[in-house]
Symmetry: C2
Subunit: 199 residues, 2 copies
């Protein structure tokens, strides 16, 4: 086997991303990740330390990628939401990872676990982008370019969730199942956001 540290690391990360997205932290199998990456289980511990740390690394990378790849445009929140929806469609693992992270690595009391498993660190780039986004929205509201019916953080939160409305991880019983074309979906999402932010 050719020696290639960066390549192995990247293959492990990619395999871990798929595995965690599919099965979550508790359901993921370290052996499966190693096998999928064409590597060895020991490599995972060599490179990432533990299963939990591997998950945190995968999650942080995914979120940072998303934030960098789909920057918020405060002057076009409807378009931003539509772009997000397309990112989610293009990579269905993304929102699943987010959901797993909320459920399994969030700040819940975790009544009693073997090892005190503390919540994972939040990815720096994503946190900063979010804070900046809230500030921009607040400013636009102050200038009357956006409705101030809602607090800025609530508004951003709502926009992010509306963008995720079509993701498989959001589907509920109200879902007819008939697949809406991307363009139509984007139009609906943009219109909904417009309904919320129009001054």
């Amino acid at each position: 086997m050719a020696r290639n540290a960066d390549g192995t690391r990247a293959r492990l990360l990619s395999a871990a991303r798929h595995e965690f997205a599919a099965f979550g932290l508790a359901g993921a199998r370290v052996d499966r990740i190693a096998a999928d990456a064409g590597s060895n289980k020991a490599q995972i511990y060599y490179y990432f330390g533990s299963k939990d740390q591997l998950f945190d690394t995968v999650f942080a990378a995914a979120l940072d990628d998303l934030v960098r790849g789909t920057p918020m445009d405060v002057n076009d929140l409807p378009g931003f939401a539509a772009q997000l929806a397309e990112a989610y469609e293009h990579d269905p693992d993304l929102l699943r990872l987010v959901s797993w992270q909320r459920l399994e690595r969030g700040a819940r009391r975790e009544r009693r676990e073997r090892r005190e498993r503390r919540a994972g660190p939040t990815p720096r780039a994503a946190v900063e982008a979010t804070q900046a986004g809230i500030a921009q929205i607040a400013q636009a509201q102050a200038q009357g370019r956006l409705s101030d019916r809602y607090p800025a953080d609530v508004l951003l939160h709502a926009v992010l969730h509306i963008a995720a409305l079509w993701a498989p991880a959001s589907r509920d019983l109200a879902w007819s199942g008939k697949p809406l074309p991307s363009a139509a979906r984007d139009r609906i999402i943009a219109q909904m956001v417009l309904d919320l932010v129009a001054p």
Copy 2:
């Protein structure tokens, strides 16, 4: 220990509900459920057949309770959303169960699992209520009492998600963390729904 089949079954269900809400299907421990219920592991298999079936039972009961306890009022969707939000606040396990169900029991391809674990059945009462709700919304739209900017199923879907905006399982990085009073939260949710449904 007094013998009480119904009581034991109920205690097991309640313990399972907490356990599954906290840890999900893969993370839940059958032994813990039995211990919490003050019962025995074998009773779980006696009453429910398997861990998966126990989860499905818990989930169906939770969803049916919710649907029955918070019926949709097509003439007051904003109020309906606010009521939902209060139900979610009152029982934080509810939306966690829904999230776990989507992630772990949904119709995903499940790349390869030991046993062919097919997706769980959808609770009858909830499905019927949802279909009825969509029909009512469509009718109200046809009569001009609700905006027809959005298809009826999309509208209901959006309303359900907006109601869940404040649930811990939805919190993302845009979340400031400062707890909004229930009344203020309900007002915001109702306003958002109004923005979407006003003709």
